[in-house]
Amino acid sequence: MSLDLKVDGQSEDRAEGYAQGILGTPMDRPDGEAKVTGAATYAADEVPEGCLVGMLVRAPGHGRIEVLNLDEVRNSDGVRAVIRDPRMIRNAAQGTANQAPVQGVDKADYIGQPVALVVAESFETARHAAHSLKLRTDGSPGIVNPEDAEPEGEPDTTTGDLDGAMSSAAHSVDVIYTTASSVSAAMEPHATLAWWDGDRLTVRSALQMLKYNRNELADSLEIDPENVRLLAPFVGGGFGSKLGISADAVAAAIAAKELGRPVQVVQHRRQVFETVTRRSETRQRIRLAADAEGRLSGIGHESLVSNLPGEGFAEPVAQATHFAYGGAHRVIGERLARLNRPAAGSVRAPGEAVGVTAFECAMDELASDVGIDPVELRLRNIPDKDPESGIPFSSHMLERSLREGAERFGWAARDVAPRARREGEWWIGTGMAAAFRVNLMMEAEARIALSPEGAVVETDMTDIGTGTYAILTQIAGEALGLPADRVEVRLGDTTFPPGSGSGGSFGAATTGNAVWLAAQEIRQAIAQRMNCDEADLTLKDGTAICGNESRPIAELLDGGSLNGHGHVTAGDAFSDVRQSTFGAHFAEVAVNDVTGEVRVRRMQGTFACGRILNEKTARSQCHGGMTWGIGMALTEGLTHDRRDGHIVNRDFAEYHMAVNADVPPLDVHLLEERDPWSGPLQAKGLGELGICGAGAAVLNAVHHACGVRVRDMPATPDRVLAGLE
């Protein structure tokens, strides 16, 4: 049996009337104790007896690969194999690819491509042998810089006459922003343990979306997915980098089969920088045409992004621009440069993270030009329906976000002109930006077994730090009237029903609704045993109540158990209305007049994402997004060597993500909201909204502080200083 729902329209808010009262509360993570005691086991933490260690070897150049000392390395002490198998993958698969990415080791399309796996008895031996392998490449780098490529694609929205709108506008902005190539840099490097029992493969790996990953791995190995089991009970962060199967997994599986022993392959951090998809650098031309009051008549948002040949992903920079603001004349879209640089893919909030950030900087420039408050500029341009399709919004929370955020931040006290506040060497300023992120739903299944001891929830969904263990506990507990300690959530195993996987902020709402449906099925069964209508059933603390009758659930189960299965898919609700999440960012920064150094002094983020499932984990997600915004605006960027495209700064000493001292107090305000179009839980995605536009608030504050517009991110001291000089 299964309760299936295709979300075609609005759902009733059943949770509101439920009695357990744990949904939405700031409950501690049930997996918290395991994480603070070191008991939580990640991909590299369980090593069976007799396990061999594999180390990937990178291509030092482009073109055909020749190994000069294969036999020497293969025959050295402790080395069991040097594997160069055509099934090995070029780079991590794209999210939801569901099939093998580009494969092969004979030629390298980018520097850093894995072209061999050295397997040895110990990590030390494998690492040294991998270093010892001498490779020669014979190819030229080809095109490695975006400006040298003939880009693919045309703008996907061209409405009206933007050039005309620009020339007749009272105020206009025509600017180019660039954002740097960047990486997810999840703290857990990509790692895999693989072993075979006959034809059956088990893989423990660091992955976000197991149901797709299983097919990607099986397709890479040319085996039946039914023979593949993936395990990922704990994942040390993903942020897009673990959406698709990575090189370690395929190589470990091949080696384990060939050698008849379990094989562990952990990518070195420097390899993670190269073999896992990065966020493309972007070059964004933004045009804004407005009347004397700042009402937009035209919007242009044209971007150039890059990817490797053969990759079906282009950073959707203008994803939110299509619906963020009104304006009749529009040219919006991306072009793609094919480069022999490491592959690009989804990194936290693909599209909006960089697109909203640059666009909201341009909006700040328009506000300056018009001479109105930047909050007011946004308020004047909120559309009442989707400006391109004309469909209604499922809900629109931008105005509330802006007003409540401004209030909490103390925006009204702001000096209008830049360079108005100075403390010693430091210019002080404030800035703001709006936040947008599309709301997505995927397909998910989950099952619940209710026994006298409590409920066990199973799905192959992952918890990459997002709080899945917590929220699924709360959803099941709320629907079944059980306290959190009587709900056990089991994740990250493909023998469980396929969840949505973690990505695109859709995990919580999608898989959450599947769990919700599974619980509803059990509620119906309980109602039947209580001889009442399910709508009249109250479940609380393990007791079923209907009218005057009250019975312990354990008694109703009569020693047996009840099983529920939920299955949710996105339907017309995701095309009949425009679903988005909204928010507002405010930042105060200090800019050093001597050095150009920027310090963020405080930030405020106000976010509307439908029902908040766990107030504590939700807040943490927002902290994360806002901090990423600081990194994008100020410190983070991959440097590609212009001669051959290789990533120069591929370590944490030189790729600068925010450290503790870079992050000021962050005020997060979560707006109370229900979005009936988003499914029965009325919750929307929230893991990515926090990054969308956060960097713009920082950069706009930099301008307000010192009068310098930095249009090339990150705004490192040299770039700020260039404006101060």
Binding site: R127, V594, R599, T635, V648, D651, D718, L721
Partner: protein
């Protein structure tokens, strides 16, 4: 990491003897050496562990201090004499690395810290410092954390230390026991070599030479400032740093010891800058002239052009603070 012999030295003499063989190197904190060995940028045959030798004391010495080679960065920064009399040294140490690294990294090791040039770290690109005569990928490549002073056509690698900058400003000496047991004393100013056409030779140390201590003279200036500019608020190498030791007498600069990080192929100090400042009343013009003097021979790459104005501004601000 290449296999190596591990020898734990029981006393300095045994350490020197063990290290006098070809391919041997000392290890104490290991925070940079092991980093490089894992990438096989360095591949010694023998590691001589000196971490348990009695070189971890800080003693009063001839009006100054004698800092043992294995004193950790943390202990040195926290030493009350250093904090009170050589605050520039505490400040420089605390501006570097992280709490964990400072707990392991030692005084002698920090002096010998290798460059962070990304091409030096990448054994798939040519580097004259790593493999003499191989070529330099940084020239014409991506530069940012590279030197603009003391460079050559063979190497533009930057010396990344903060500690050594403070020590140069203080006029420190490096105490070395040679393989034959004799003690040598090198002025910090003479300890490091410019890259020239032998960038792999970074100091005057000979095989088997063991740094036993750093000697600080009695401070010649009570106004000590260390200022570091970096890409994030903490845990990053310097883009530019300036350390100044100044003594003022009757409104004039009576002593100036100014050293620089983030600029040179070695911890940088220019006697002409010190001479220019000495005897003069502080002024913006004077400081600008000092910057002109400092940067007169500077050779920036595309990615390091910004260091010219940045160095000028930071020098000016540091001297303003130190001479107020």
């Amino acid at each position: 990491m290449k296999p190596f012999d591990y020898v734990r030295a029981e006393d300095p003499a045994a350490a020197r003897k063990a290290a006098a063989t070809a391919g041997a190197t000392f290890i104490s904190g290991g925070t940079n050496l092991l980093d490089l060995m894992k990438l096989e940028v360095m591949a010694p045959d023998t590691l001589v562990d000196i971490s348990r030798l009695p070189l971890d004391g800080i003693e009063d010495h001839e009006g100054g201090l004698r800092i043992g080679a294995t004193v950790t960065n943390s202990d040195l920064a926290a030493d009350m004499r250093v904090r009170r009399v050589y605050p520039i040294l505490s400040r420089a140490l605390l501006a570097g690395a992280s709490g964990q690294l400072r707990n392991k990294a030692t005084t002698g090791g920090n002096l010998l810290q290798r460059t962070r040039c990304p091409y030096f770290y990448d054994t798939d690109t040519p580097c004259n410092k790593r493999t003499p005569g191989e070529g330099c990928a940084a020239l014409g490549g991506e530069t940012r954390n590279h030197a603009i002073l003391g460079t050559s056509d063979h190497c533009i690698a930057l010396h990344p230390s903060d500690m050594a900058v403070a020590m140069r400003a203080l006029g420190a000496q490096v105490e070395v026991e040679a393989a034959d047991g004799t003690t040598k004393l090198h002025e910090m100013d003479d300890f490091y070599r410019l890259p020239g056409d032998t960038p792999h030779i970074e100091t005057v140390l000979q095989p088997g030479d063991l740094i036993t201590a750093v000697r600080l003279p009695a401070p010649q200036g009570d106004r000590q400032v260390y200022r570091k500019v970096r890409d994030r608020a903490s845990y990053a190498f310097a883009l530019v740093s300036v350390g100044a030791v100044i003594r003022m007498e009757q409104g004039r600069i009576a002593h100036a010891g100014v050293a620089f990080g983030g600029l040179g192929t070695k911890p940088w100090r220019d006697p002409e800058v010190d001479a220019l400042l000495t005897g003069n009343a502080p002024s913006r013009e004077l400081f600008d002239e000092a910057a002109d003097t400092l940067l007169r021979g500077a050779k920036a790459q595309d990615g390091t052009e910004f260091k010219l104005p940045l160095a000028r501004r930071v020098l000016r601000a540091t001297l303003e603070e130190a001479t107020q």
